[in-house]
Symmetry: C2
């Protein structure tokens, strides 16, 4: 009847991050922060969780002399996102 919802994706901020990365394939921390309206601390924690789950990759690099955190969705992440969307439909009737 109701398919279980991946708790990692059933979170407003993490879902927003994944949603961005599905389209962008690569995004910088400050960009994600701006688009989601999240605080840096919250965002940092949530991308760590997505990374620990293997849903995204985090590459720490430099942009000139300043640190730059790049995020990219993984195939596993894309798959999880699509499954989550399918599962949600069982609740929303869409």
């Amino acid at each position: 009847m109701f398919k279980p919802l991946d708790p990692l994706l059933h979170s407003e901020l993490r879902l927003a991050v994944m949603s961005l990365l599905v389209s962008a394939e690569e995004a910088e921390f400050p960009y994600i922060k701006e688009q989601t309206g999240a605080t840096a601390g919250n965002l940092s924690v949530q991308i760590d969780k997505l990374s620990a789950a293997g849903y995204i990759e985090i590459e720490k690099t430099f942009k000139g002399k300043r640190p730059c955190t790049l995020c990219r969705i993984t195939p596993a992440g894309l798959n999880a996102f699509e499954e989550y969307v399918e599962s949600l439909k069982s609740y929303l009737k869409i």
Copy 2:
């Protein structure tokens, strides 16, 4: 960009309950319990929250000699559900 998600509805069990009530317009506690697979305790807590928010009505009646808890969605609840679905679409691109 991303619309905020009503925290009351962004919960697996409460969303399932609302989803049932959108279609059924009236359902008994044990039926909801069975359809959602929830424990009685969890379900009891969650329908109380939905009721406190004015999203559902809880009618306590009897079925023969046994207690019977009936749930019904309210106009406010239906509205909140529809808004939630619309908001979610900004995350899911559907």
